[in-house]
């Protein structure tokens, strides 16, 4: 037994940024207290970690920063339950715990390498895709053209607005940010993610797609992709379920024979189709 997988690393909240106009989504920048933990932390885009708030509990949250961003780890958290509510209330400088990284992540150095990449996201599901996009941009030569479709209800509900501005116009990056309905001051795309996807989706030739968002968005995004020849084994999805251990033991997150925490959270659509719909 080399280490106890249940012990979180002590860390501090270094910075908090409110992401959305409703104030319900914040991004937390977290730094490790122990140099040893910082130095040994290695994650892949698409992985998650358990965040601990003393006395409240632990929650699984996707890692929003890329491993190429060193010295901190980012988590973008929607306020929903006991622990996320506590997290939203605590101040900068507070000590929390972080356990991980957990799960498999996107195959950025496997099946995605050398390919054109299509990233599709809706709402606040862009978090691990932010990690992925920054990773891809940091290793630009390893990938072909990158197409992003990202939608939210209103301009104020979009995540990482400043970063999207900075990514605008980068070579080989096709950004398509859309909102559901016309809004004052918005000059960008208007329309649901599936509609925009139909308009801009690249050829499936030598390509991989990563799709994260509400199930209804994923459902309607698939037909336009299938129409132009995308196959289920080229499409990567990230599942979510209630989790406790994150180690494939406690039994909470199983979808049939697989554990979202250990065998996932990233699965190809081909894999997901062979599973019961228990996520």
């Amino acid at each position: 037994m080399t280490k106890n997988p249940y012990l979180p690393y002590p860390a501090r909240i270094d910075d908090v940024a409110v992401e959305t106009e409703d104030g319900n989504i914040k991004t937390f920048r977290i730094v490790f207290e122990n140099e040893r933990d910082r130095a040994t932390w290695r994650h892949t885009p698409g992985q998650f970690a358990m965040l601990s708030i003393a006395g409240k509990g632990e929650i699984p949250i996707g890692i929003a920063s890329s491993p190429t961003e060193e010295g901190f780890v980012l988590f973008t958290v929607n306020r929903a339950g006991v622990v996320t509510t506590a997290l939203h209330q605590i101040e900068k400088g507070t000590r929390i715990g972080i356990r991980g990284p957990l799960g498999n992540g996107f195959p950025v150095d496997g099946a995605m390498r050398g390919k054109n990449i299509l990233i599709i996201a809706g709402g606040f599901a862009f978090t691990t895709l932010r990690a992925t996009l920054i990773y891809l941009l940091a290793h630009r030569a390893n990938y072909g053209k990158i197409t992003v479709v990202y939608g939210a209800r209103t301009p104020g509900m979009l995540l990482y607005k400043d970063e999207f501005k900075a990514w605008q116009g980068l070579d080989g990056l096709d950004l398509n940010v859309t909102i559901d309905r016309e809004a004052p001051g918005w000059s960008g795309l208007v329309g649901f993610v599936p509609t925009i996807t139909e308009r801009v989706a690249p050829s499936p030739e030598n390509a991989a797609a990563l799709i994260c968002g509400p199930p209804i968005m994923i459902k309607f995004t698939m037909p336009p992709l299938e129409k132009i020849g995308w196959q289920d084994d080229q499409v990567y999805l990230s599942l979510e379920n209630r989790m406790k251990c994150g180690l494939g033991v406690c039994g909470h997150c199983n979808v049939g024979p697989v554990y979202v925490c250990k065998n996932g959270p990233v699965f190809t659509r081909e894999q997901v189709k062979k599973l019961p719909i228990e996520f």
Binding site: L7, S52, V249, K274
Partner: protein, 340 residues
């Protein structure tokens, strides 16, 4: 492997030495009780079948403290997790039925890398008692076990000819016996053991056959089988089956703070409960009872079997005995095997 013959006094001497030198536990009535030196008589006559309380209680503590922390904001070490310093005490579990012993071996697979489970395993010696008699709810033989099975045990005792034949199965088992305990078993004892084992296996199918059958079945065909609707209708989702089951090992983790002293604990949970899978958003992937009942059986018979090669059921019959609405896993196995 060393095989000895023990008479009743020899066994009482062993029990006395275990009760004195470490902690001795045995089945008394429905539960597992600490046995003291002057209470040894309580465990030398054990009724047939497994006691109501499952053996997992010794390995999955209720609760297990994962770590402690100070919840006092001013403390420098507030929130820093401190793993428990005390190691579990050495103990002997006596009178463990082969079905329960097998559950220890099966649970060790998902808990292979779990430091808490393994620490308890390290400190525990398991002395089994084979089943010359079985109950109407026992079905170990049909799920790959045997009333004389040795899996998960350090020593197996078999009642024979007014005494016991002791099979010493591991070095931990060797360590339990003082020099000069018993006498080497004779050819007659060996023949007697073999005859008992053969008789128990007579008429039963190949022990690997059931897990092979379940592995060969198509997962989604089993999942979509019609039987789940009728099976789940009477279920109360009380969770008795999962709490009593020796191979149900799911857990929850919660934080507790009492007077600013915090601890994170892990304790048994049940997939029968709607909260088990409830998301913070309100979405529940197993919100309907049929899905929860199906998950329990599918995990035991199909998912675990695919992952680890054996069914997560040892045939102890506790769930059959205690289910308030008489759901019988033997019937579920039979019906699932006929799903085409």
């Amino acid at each position: 492997m060393n095989i000895l013959r023990l008479d009743i006094n020899g066994l009482l001497d062993c029990l006395s030495s275990w009760a004195g030198g470490q902690e001795l536990y045995g089945p008394v009535k429905d539960g597992w009780r600490r046995i003291s030196r002057d209470g040894l008589e309580a465990v030398v006559s054990i009724p047939p079948g497994a006691p109501k309380a499952p053996i997992k209680t010794f390995f999955l503590a209720q609760p297990e403290t994962l770590f402690t922390f100070s919840a006092r904001h001013g403390d420098d070490d507030a929130w820093i997790p401190t793993p428990p310093k005390e190691a579990p005490n050495r103990r002997v579990l006596f009178g463990v039925r082969p079905c329960d012993a097998r559950s220890i071996a099966l649970n060790s697979m998902p808990y292979r890398d779990d430091p808490y489970y393994q620490a308890r395993m390290d400190k525990t010696a398991v002395v089994g008692l084979s089943c010359n008699e079985t109950c109407s709810t026992c079905f170990c033989k049909s799920v790959g076990g045997s009333p004389y099975g040795t899996e998960g045990l350090d020593i197996l005792l078999t009642k024979a000819d007014g005494g016991f034949i002791a099979e010493v199965l591991t070095s931990k088992g060797e360590g339990l016996l003082e020099k000069g305990t018993g006498t080497p078993a004779g050819d007659g004892d060996m023949a007697r053991l073999k005859a008992l084992r053969d008789a128990a296996q007579a008429g039963t199918s190949d022990t690997q056959a059931l897990s092979a059958s379940f592995k060969a079945k198509n997962l989604m065909q089993l999942y979509n089988a019609r039987l789940w609707q009728g099976l789940s209708e009477p279920c109360l989702n009380c969770g008795a089956c999962t709490f009593l089951c020796p191979t149900c090992y799911c857990f929850d983790i919660q934080d507790e703070v009492v007077r600013q002293a915090g601890r994170r604990i892990r304790y048994w949970d049940s997939c029968m409960f709607p909260l088990f899978t409830l998301h913070a958003s309100g979405h529940n992937p197993r919100g309907e009872k049929i899905k929860r009942v199906r998950n329990r059986f599918m995990h035991k018979l199909k998912y675990f079997t695919e992952r680890f090669g054996a069914l997560s059921c040892v045939g102890c019959g506790r769930c059959i005995r205690e289910c308030p609405v008489n759901i019988d896993i033997r019937e579920v196995i039979r019906d699932l095997l006929s799903v085409e």
